[in-house]
Symmetry: C2
Subunit: 91 residues, 2 copies
DNA sequence: AGTCGTTACATATTATAGTTGATAAACTTG
DNA sequence: CAAGTTTATCAACTATAATATGTAACGACT
């Protein structure tokens, strides 16, 4: 299950349904057209606040952006989050 | 509408409903107890992948973590996303 | 073919998400 | 009440999300 792809598909579908271009949504949301393009193509892992603000600009519920859309899932696994970082404290 | 607080409330409620400690959820999810504590208290702005992985560890749908929970919204506005960054290119 | 509108691609930078370890504070239990 | 358990808090670090800018590629239309 790839959340980036799911959210991307939902976003693209909802935007197109409203006959909006990415540029128009960009202006409404304050995100750049280039960023929205990446999100729609599943290349970005947005935060929940970003999700909400995009939904707001689209006048839809943020839930609509994360709901399963009935598309067949690919066999590729969900991209994982970041790996291990610093020790958190100077030893 | 503060997404961080909403997700935090949903997470805490669902976790407690399953009688899980943050430590146990931490072990199941691979996130640290400290991080989950921050998320539950609305102090973190997780990405959609993080959202999904927490939901997976809780054996609930990720949608359950973002659904409105009927709590009265505070008058404080949604925290905004990040501000302007670099110029993107050496001029 | 040329033009226009739209989307995709590239790059460098900054802000912040997520990690880690330590530990204080709060809560629960016997 | 003391001890054990759970959650909250702090701080420093690394990885990455988001920004800004430029522009290539694509599709539609004349």
């Amino acid at each position: 299950m790839d959340m980036r792809k799911l959210v991307g598909r939902n976003l693209a579908r909802l935007r197109q349904a409203q006959k909006l271009t990415q540029e128009e949504l960009a202006m409404r949301s304050g995100f750049s057209q280039q960023y929205l393009s990446d999100v729609e193509r599943g290349l970005k892992n947005p935060t929940i606040i970003t999700l909400y603000e995009i939904a707001l600009a689209l006048s839809v519920s943020h839930v609509a952006l994360v709901e399963p859309d009935g598309m067949a899932e690919e066999t590729a696994p969900q991209p994982k989050r970041r790996r291990a970082a610093g020790t958190g404290r100077i030893k």
